[in-house]
């Protein structure tokens, strides 16, 4: 990964576990194939405070920006776990 992308991955680390799980899962699934515009949009999402970001990602609030709300929906859809097999839900590290 290049340095800018590496930085975004680190910034998926937050104060709340819920955000760590959602952001890291989404990044690991999609990050490598992002265009520059998509990267910038993700970087802007990471600029939110934790509580605001969590409100967006758990559906309590909606972004006024259509593009950003689309990203929020994609992160929400990329839940760190699917189905009842819970042992896969711990996010895999990068190493």
């Amino acid at each position: 990964m290049d340095a800018a992308l590496n930085r975004l991955r680190w910034q998926c680390r937050r104060g709340m576990l819920e955000l760590d799980l959602l952001l890291t899962a989404y990044f690991d699934a999609r990050g490598a194939s992002w265009s520059l515009a998509e990267r910038e949009q993700f970087a802007r999402l990471l600029d939110y405070d934790d509580t605001e970001l969590w409100a967006l990602l758990n559906g309590q609030t909606q972004s006024g920006d259509v593009g950003e709300q689309g990203l929020v929906e994609r992160v929400r859809a990329q839940s760190p776990v699917r189905g009842s097999e819970v042992s896969i839900s711990y996010p895999r590290g990068t190493s």
Binding site: W10, R14, E18, T51, N58, S84, S89, G93, S95
Partner: protein, 594 residues
């Protein structure tokens, strides 16, 4: 190779609540203060604290610090040091009012005073009746605290080194701490931060468990640094668990779900709490519910392929009730368990939440260690918040005392640091080059390692060992095995390999360095838990049960003492609990019952 050196009066490691509070004290005293932090300060784990901060302001009804002290001592199962507890409860009003002056938007009464809510374990008149003591800012108390204190620090010219990771303490031959080594993530470069004093405020280490409510950053960095520098870790067997974390993810499902009628079931669908608590059933206390869940799993009645979780069932509730009363929980369940609780039960396990132990300090926030049986400060080293053990939480923490802890001891450790720098240190002491070499060797080893273990695999082995062997309910034989397993894990930690050797924001390298800290916390926890042959507070053993001599399995005759784990020799020592408060009479030992 020359390692660049930066000089400050003081370096604070960690910019959560404790670090920010301490930094205010230092910067407002005119000292040059650097606060280094892995993530932006307002994204520290303090943000996750919702419950509030305890202070006996008496705004809603009569309250007194002495009653708060009583609740805290009782909550600690008498393992808390009563001098530190008195200090904290007496200073609570002052630090809460200060925080208000920093701009903290506390909820208010109609008269404009700070509004106070009830919270479990908060009582008046020495345990007689519930009292409203918790001060909150809606459900964003931690978040609002971080913002208020960060702004105050900006005003005071605190220098933030954001996205930096501290590696090791620099301790000279006389035992003085004169700085830290640290990595700037943006360059991947190693720096020496040369200081007259260092204050550790690195928060908890919940990531040692497979199931934890803690954020990924909570890897016990300060504890690893202290342990490697020869400083013991205190009372590391005491971890607070929450009964219902989403299995695998750890995300908290609030107790309100059981309040609304949620039922815990095992693999055969049985409502097992009826056997453990015939009256309270699913609404029994946290400890009782957690232990029942673990017993079900241990006896083979858990669910899933590995039979390692139970189910929290609300499918019998009216979907409208779920949508109206528990919308957040439905969302969490769908996102982190892949289950819509309207249709299917939620997989849950008891989940590690808070570390009561830590780096030993006194109530002044000075890091202390015994010299010839008497606690002596480690010159130049201070600690506050969850990484420190003052000890106010003892064997179990009272709700809302964590935010109070970081305010009171953030402030007192800051005051002590200022005094030390002003009175004891004329100039920066010389740097100990062998200590710097340790950090360089750690990085060089990681870069050179071939055929090593993958960080992710080793971390998971560590977390599973802690979860299985050092969980909410402990078994003598499992603890013994756990100690031996974690020593195996330690060997793997020493040979971790990263495939990505790039320098800039290399998460793999950072995770390998964090693992060096996690393993110290895990060893300390397992060895201390194996060592303590009684049940007390959050440490509950199957071979130490309720008896007339030992109520709830607590054995004061032999075990009313703090554990001290030393990395060197992987050994334990013990030191007495401070039963003498500062100004009032000792709160005498009695059975802890609610």
């Amino acid at each position: 190779m020359n390692i660049p050196v930066r000089k400050y009066d003081a370096v604070i490691v960690g910019a959560g609540g404790a670090g920010l509070r301490a930094a205010i004290q230092l910067s407002e005293s005119g000292l040059s203060t650097a606060v280094l932090t892995k993530v932006f300060p307002t994204r520290s784990h303090t943000v996750a604290a919702q419950g509030g901060v305890a202070a006996s302001l008496g705004n809603s009804e009569e309250d007194h610090w002495h009653w708060h002290m009583y609740d805290t001592v009782k909550g600690s199962d008498w393992l808390g040091d009563q001098d530190a507890i008195e200090f904290m409860c007496r200073r609570a009003n002052e630090v809460v009012v200060e925080l208000e002056h920093y701009g903290m938007p506390f909820d208010r009464t109609d008269e404009g005073k700070i509004y106070q809510r009830p919270f479990g374990g908060h009582m008046s008149h020495f345990g007689e009746k519930p009292v409203r003591r918790s001060c909150a800012a809606a459900d964003r108390t931690g978040h609002a605290m971080l913002h208020a204190m960060y702004q105050r620090n900006v005003r005071a010219n605190t220098q933030f080194l954001v996205e930096w990771m501290a590696l090791d303490l620099l301790r000279d031959r006389d035992g003085r701490v004169v700085g830290v080594t640290a990595m700037e993530m943006e360059s991947g470069e190693l720096f020496v931060l040369h200081a007259k004093a260092v204050l550790l405020a690195t928060g908890g280490a919940g990531r040692v468990f497979y199931s934890s409510t803690n954020a990924f950053i909570n890897t016990g960095d300060g504890l690893g640094m202290a342990a490697r520098a020869g400083i013991p870790l205190e009372d590391m067997e005491f971890w607070q668990f929450h009964p219902t974390g989403v299995a695998g993810a750890g995300v908290l499902i609030t107790e309100g779900v059981r309040g609304e009628g949620g039922i815990l079931r095992n693999a055969s669908g049985e409502r097992f709490m009826e056997r453990y608590a015939p009256n309270a059933k699913d609404l029994a206390s946290r400890d009782v519910v957690s232990r029942a869940m673990v017993t079900e799993i241990k006896e083979g009645r858990g669910c899933g392929t590995n039979k390692d979780y139970v189910l929290l069932d609300i499918t019998h509730l009216d979907p409208k009730t779920i949508m109206m009363r528990l919308p957040g929980i439905r969302e969490i369940s769908i996102q982190f368990a892949g289950v819509d609780p309207i249709k299917d039960p939620i997989p849950v396990v008891p989940t590690a939440h808070y570390m009561m132990g830590g780096i030993p300090t006194n109530f002044r926030g000075e890091v202390v260690m015994p010299v010839n049986g008497v606690d002596q400060p480690v010159p130049g080293l201070y600690a506050a918040g969850e990484c420190a053990c003052a000890s106010v939480h003892g064997a179990n923490r009272l709700g809302t005392n964590s935010l109070l802890d970081l305010l009171v001891f953030g402030k007192s450790s800051g005051e002590s640091t200022v005094e030390y720098i002003r009175k004891e240190v004329r100039a920066h002491p010389d740097l100990p080059h062998e200590a710097i070499e340790l950090s360089r060797a750690r990085l060089a080893r990681l870069d050179a390692q071939r055929d090593g273990a993958r960080v992710h695999d080793v971390r998971e082995k560590l977390q599973r060992t802690m979860q299985d062997h050092c969980g909410v309910f402990r078994f003598a034989d499992m603890l013994k095995q756990g100690v031996s397993k974690i020593l195996d894990v330690e060997k793997d930690v020493a040979s971790t390999e990263i495939s990505d050797k790039s320098r800039v924001f290399n998460t793999a390298r950072l995770e390998a360095l964090e693992l060096d800290n996690l393993v110290e916390v895990a060893k300390a926890s397992l060895v201390s838990a194996d060592g303590r042959k009684e049940s007390r507070g959050a440490h509950v053993r199957d071979d130490a049960v309720d008896s007339p001599q030992c109520p709830n399995g607590r054995n004061d005759a032999e075990w009313l003492k703090h554990s001290l784990w030393y990395r060197d020799g992987n050994r334990l020592e013990y030191k007495p609990v401070q039963l003498q408060p500062l100004s009032v009479d000792t709160i005498e030992l009695k059975k802890r019952a609610y």
